[in-house]
């Protein structure tokens, strides 16, 4: 169901919309299969709406109620290969001038 409590209809249009948000291209066969499976899975997980949640129950996003630990703001040496090139881009799909090569957007 939605935030407002209205039931949702899981159909191929919803799967296409969500796949688009997730930047996934699905085949027509995948859309059909996933919408059937998503209907079954969401039908099951919606049982959480039956759980008795006492007023004021804080959502638990993490196993510990820990604050983000802070560290000193110190400059560290980046990882480099033997020839002094940055290691982080070594396995990038494509590089240019020791940087990540990005697709054209204009």
């Amino acid at each position: 169901m939605s935030n407002s409590g209205n039931p949702i209809e899981v159909n191929e249009a919803l799967v296409r919309k969500v796949a688009d948000l997730a930047r996934l291209a699905l085949t027509d066969a995948e859309v059909t299969l996933f919408s059937t499976q998503m209907k079954v899975t969401l039908g099951y997980v919606e049982q959480i709406s039956k759980a008795t949640i006492p007023e004021g129950t804080e959502p638990m996003y993490h196993p510990f109620d820990m604050a983000t630990p802070m560290r000193d703001d110190t400059v560290v040496t980046p990882m480099t290969t033997a020839d002094g090139k940055p290691k982080m881009i070594r396995s990038a799909p494509d590089t240019l001038y020791e940087g990540f090569k990005v697709p054209p957007i204009l």
């Binding site: 949702i8 799967v15 996934l24 996933f34 969401l42 070594r90 957007i105």
Partner: protein, 485 residues
């Protein structure tokens, strides 16, 4: 073959001390066995690296005479590493086409600590793609075969590691456990598998699936070996802000302390013996529990009333975190970039071409997670799931006032046949109901072999303790292993 004769860390180190075995000999035989194996447990074998490490171990032994166990607790021990843990310069695929050629630029903390302790890495093990699955059928590089029962799954997602340990293709292995991915395959394959407390082992270098649930842990032939591996790789790491700064116990030394059975209160959750649990599994686990009672432990009936919601909570929380974590596979920093990807009308097209490299289960979970986090549905799904997650944690907090440890089954059934559940994702998800609660609450849990069914398929006993009582999980497991198994 030496790898079949010497199967535990203690036995191997004793054999090294007596000069009846050398690290190079053991590594050579283990590599040969791994190469000849038809299980598809390994995705990458590290032959050169392993032989180099073995030679270094030989040299250390030549200098010291006997294994310097304090400095090198894993000297010359052949280990396997799940392929979602990075090693500098070693291909790390997560069993996905997306990372087919990914060579990471650094080594993760847990793996690094093992290597510094003298371990020899035989290879990287097969898994469900991005650790998503419970049967190892979701690997882009083919399923893993069960180590003793051809035609059956080894469990997942760390099925390659479990199989490698059981089939003597290594002595111990690392896996990761987000919803049962160490304990369930350990149970299916008949080996020990430990998911430590969340934060006990640094996740630096573990490719993230669901960051609030993921934890690295060992597979081993026995509890002592699991304790050795955890003692080496656990403890605080400044590179993982969620790793705990609590001092790390020497778990191996803890095992030497006798267990006071008469002072032990053992909780038996009624929700872990529901109708869906196979009768033989329930009977076998109950027989182990009866033995524990006979030793003098006090059995306490407990209730974890929100257990029926665990699968629902998990398949909202885990997939939501996954949809966010897997956004990094964008074809710019990571991932395979198809040749035509740069010829696109807009950036969305580019991403879609790149992300076609994900397999079906990964796509399914990204879609579900993106939906649960999307505007209009966030409160009804993600927020509510996180509230119920707290109720599940509260259940454990309440139960641990009446008991010290909890015992029960790992999975509702033993290993199943390939293809049996593959077409029905929900059926596969429901299989995780008894392992998921530990991850949601951040608790340590272990699978210990406790018997077999009529076909000889192994059955696992689950031992659960409060957060940071990994010592208790190991001590109770060790005592049961010594006296009962």
């Amino acid at each position: 073959m030496l790898n079949e004769k010497y199967t535990t860390i203690t036995a191997i180190h004793d054999a090294f001390d007596r000069k009846e075995l050398s690290p190079v000999e053991l590594t050579r035989d283990t590599l040969a066995a791994a190469k000849a194996s038809k299980h598809n447990a390994y995705l990458t074998l590290l032959e050169d690296r392993a032989m180099e490490a073995a030679k270094r171990a030989d040299q250390i032994l030549a200098e010291t005479g006997k294994v310097p166990r304090d400095r090198f607790p894993l000297l010359g021990i052949p280990l396997a590493i799940k392929d979602n843990l990075v090693i500098d310069g070693v291909r790390t695929t997560c069993a996905s086409k997306m990372l087919e050629n990914y060579i990471p630029p650094y080594t993760g903390t847990a793996v690094d600590r093992l290597e510094k302790a003298g371990a020899v890495f035989i290879g990287k093990t097969n898994m469900d793609e991005f650790a998503m699955g419970g049967s190892n059928e979701n690997s882009a590089f083919g399923p893993v075969e069960h180590p003793t029962h051809p035609g059956y799954v080894p469990g997942g997602s760390s099925g390659g590691s479990a199989t490698a340990v059981r089939a003597n293709l290594c002595v111990a292995a690392l896996g990761s456990d987000t919803g049962g991915s160490i304990r369930q395959p350990a149970s299916y394959c008949g080996v020990v598998g430990l998911k430590p407390t969340y934060g006990r082992v640094s996740r630096y270098g573990l490719v993230a699936f669901a960051s609030s649930l993921d934890q690295i842990g060992p597979f081993a032939k026995n509890v002592e070996d699991a304790a050795t591996v955890l003692s080496v790789m656990g403890g605080h790491d400044p590179l993982d802000s969620t790793s705990s700064s609590r001092p790390l116990e020497n778990f191996v030394a803890e095992l030497k302390k006798p267990l006071d059975w008469k002072g032990l209160r053992v909780g038996i959750p009624k929700e872990y013996f529901i109708d869906g649990v196979d009768a033989t599994v329930a009977k076998t686990v109950r027989a182990a529990i009866a033995w524990v009672e006979k030793q003098g432990a006090k059995l306490v009936d407990i209730s974890l009333p929100n257990t029926p919601y665990a699968v629902s909570v998990y398949y909202i929380v885990a997939v939501s975190e996954a949809s966010s974590n897997l956004a990094r596979f964008d074809g710019v920093r990571f991932g395979v970039r198809p040749p035509d990807a740069m010829k696109v009308g807009d950036i969305a097209d580019f991403y879609k071409k790149v992300r076609a490299n994900f397999g079906p289960e990964v796509k399914r979970r990204i879609i579900l997670g993106t939906f649960a986090l999307s505007s209009g549905y966030y409160d009804a799904y993600f927020r509510k799931a996180c509230q119920v997650r707290r109720l599940l944690k509260n259940d454990f907090d309440r139960a641990f006032k009446d008991c010290d440890v909890i015992l029960g089954p790992i999975a509702p059934s033993t290993a199943f046949k390939h293809g049996e559940k593959a077409a029905d994702p929900l059926k596969m998800y429901l299989n995780d109901i008894l392992t998921i609660p530990c991850n949601l609450a951040g608790l340590p849990g272990m699978s210990l072999p406790c018997g077999k069914n009529e076909q000889g398929l192994p059955i696992g006993l689950q031992v659960i303790a409060p957060q940071f009582r990994d010592d208790l999980v190991l001590r109770v497991g060790h005592a049961i292993e010594k006296g009962y198994v």
